[in-house]
């Protein structure tokens, strides 16, 4: 019955993409934020970004929405209103429910699951072309719950973010297995922090060395797509801290070019998926 209620609520969502990683700190939120910005660049598309990292909600800061509070939707009885970055880009995060940056959400699993359900059921998302869900690292309550609750609608697939080194890949392989276990399609893998070019001498350093072949080898072995590699760029962290879109602030950066290419591939995947669904009908 719960799932049916959610299906009704989320009927107006055309495409859903989960951003996952087994590993923390590889750039899921950064990627989610930039994916949202990238997709919303087309003003005709309505984009929603849902941050279900309840302990470490990074999205509000990255979207320049720190300090914003969730408010009641103007559609009476529709629940919360997302916080809008642009007219066509709305965001929801536990960050908007906290009154101070020092507030910690020290909750066990069941309470976290409850909030995630609320985010899906009680937020007045409206008609959305793309729902992007940013997740915390791991394979636990949040991940099981979001897959369960979203099984009502369809999830186009998951984008899995990693960095090149084995310490990351060993966790990411687990995440890929998780996706197989819960029958979540994998759109592909993004290798983030893939090399650094010194701004002075232009030599490249592998700060996080791909000692076991990086994402490329892992993707070959596990038969998943490598969507692209994104190099380190100090401007990325700066833009995130300022809450600005890195893609707009540094349009010529090799990292921006990588991101745009990856975002396009994700769009193409979603469009094909939609097309296939229509064919079945």
């Amino acid at each position: 019955a719960e799932v049916a209620e959610l299906r009704e609520r989320l009927r107006s969502v055309k495409h859903t993409v989960l951003v996952l990683s087994g590993k923390g700190g590889v750039g899921k939120s950064t990627f989610s934020a930039l994916l949202a910005h990238g997709l919303a660049a087309d003003e005709a598309k309505q984009v929603a970004l849902l941050d279900i990292d309840i302990c470490g909600p990074s999205i509000p800061k990255m979207m320049g929405l720190e300090g914003e509070q969730a408010s009641e939707s103007s559609n009476i009885g529709s629940g919360w209103s997302p916080v809008y970055v642009e007219e066509n880009l709305g965001v929801m995060s536990v960050g908007f429910l906290l009154s101070s940056p020092d507030d910690a959400v020290i909750w066990r699993g069941p309470k976290k699951n409850g909030l995630i359900k609320q985010f899906l059921r009680d937020v007045d998302w409206g008609e959305i072309d793309y729902l992007i869900v940013d997740t915390p690292p791991g394979t636990s309550d949040e991940h099981l719950s979001i897959v369960q609750y979203l099984s009502a609608t369809h999830i186009d697939g998951a984008v899995i973010v990693t960095t090149p080194q084995e310490v990351s890949l060993q966790d990411v392989r687990k995440e890929i297995n998780f996706c197989h276990k819960v029958k979540l399609p994998i759109i592909g893998v993004v290798e983030n922090m893939s090399g650094f070019v010194c701004p002075k001498c232009k030599n490249e350093s592998q700060i996080f060395p791909p000692t076991t072949g990086g994402a490329e080898k892992m993707c070959q072995n596990l038969n998943v797509s490598l969507l692209g590699k994104v190099p380190l760029d100090p401007q990325i962290g700066k833009s995130c801290d300022k809450g600005q879109s890195f893609l707009s602030e540094a349009p010529e950066s090799p990292a921006t070019l990588s991101y745009r290419h990856i975002i396009q591939r994700i769009q193409e995947y979603c469009d094909q998926h939609h097309f296939q669904e229509e064919k079945i009908i």
Binding site: G22, K23, G24, G25, V26, S29, I54, C55, G56, S58, K61, M62, P101, D102, D103, A104, V105, I106, W107, R108, G109, P110, K112, P136, P137, G138, T139, S140, D141, H143, L144, Q165, E166, V167, Q170, D171, R173, K174, I176, N177, F178, K181, F196, C198, P199, K200, C201, N203, S205, I207, F208, P209, T211, T212, L232, P234, G237, K238, C240, D241
Partner: protein, 270 residues
């Protein structure tokens, strides 16, 4: 709670936790390098890895293929070498296949963590370092609750310099306050990168956020650790960075952190 004849933690002199609100900032790295540094100062060290979804510690010591055995008092920790000066426990040793995902909800995680805290036969240790996953949830609540009777020394909080990290670590500080866990200090990791070709320093993940946070929160600042590809490589290959790369850029900061911990504990004893 009732205590067995002799608790498995009775021979452990100091327990410290390595925490961060944020993922991927270097908790396991700092835990590993701290253990190696303390060993080089002649101490016996154990690492308890309570990250059940992403256990990184075994590989960092090149013992990822080891199994654990049971004895009368519980699990025997895995020794990293014949010296037996560093021992480890991690779910990584209990997985049949390394790529198996541990997809557990809170209650099952909590049960294993309680076992990890009370049922590992550590023997005599100078330090037990508890490496944690990111966040402020089941693992953290359960670990702190289970360790409470054994009076941990406190927590080292790891952050990277940028605001997005510091934002999460502020919440972790609140967690420490709320659970009565003392804060030994903050480490600012990935703090700057010196190009090995031309020595230009680039602040890839910004700079200074960890130090500012320590000041703002009134806790000790344990230092900045720079990005060091040799350190990353060491961890990948399970090598002893402290022994093998004393001239590498991260070495001074890492040994300084260990020294501050040692100074702190010797003050306590006197």
């Amino acid at each position: 709670p009732s205590f067995p004849e002799r608790s498995n933690l009775a021979g452990v002199r100091h327990i410290l936790l390595v925490l961060s609100g944020k993922g991927g900032v270097g908790k396991s790295t700092i835990s590993t390098e701290l253990a190696l540094s303390l060993r080089h100062s002649g101490k016996k060290v154990g690492i308890l890895d309570v990250d059940l979804c992403g256990p990184s510690i075994p590989r960092m010591f090149r013992v990822q293929d080891n199994d654990v055995h049971q004895c009368d008092s519980g699990w025997v920790p895995v020794f990293v070498d014949q010296d037996k000066s560093i021992s480890l426990m991690s779910i990584g040793f209990l997985l049949e296949k390394p790529d198996d995902a541990v997809v557990w909800r809170g209650p099952k995680k909590n049960a294993l963590i309680k076992q990890f805290v009370t049922d590992v036969a550590w023997g005599d240790l100078d330090f037990l370092i508890v490496d944690t996953p990111p966040g402020t949830s089941d693992e953290h609540i359960s670990t702190v609750e289970a360790l409470r009777p054994y009076k941990p020394l406190g927590a080292i909080l790891v952050t990277t310099p940028q605001a997005v990290s510091v934002g999460d670590v502020r919440r972790e500080l609140t967690f420490c306050k709320k659970t009565g866990l003392g804060v030994l200090g903050i480490v600012e990791n990935m703090s700057g990168f010196v190009c090995p070709h031309c020595s230009e320093c680039t602040n890839i993940f910004s700079k200074g956020g960890g130090e500012e946070l320590a000041k703002h929160a009134g806790v000790p600042f344990l230092g900045c650790v720079p990005l060091d590809p040799q350190l990353s490589r060491s961890l990948e290959e399970g090598r002893d960075f402290i022994q093998e790369f004393p001239k590498s850029s991260a070495f001074p900061a890492l040994t300084r952190i260990a020294q501050q911990i040692l100074d702190g504990t010797s003050q306590r004893s006197s």
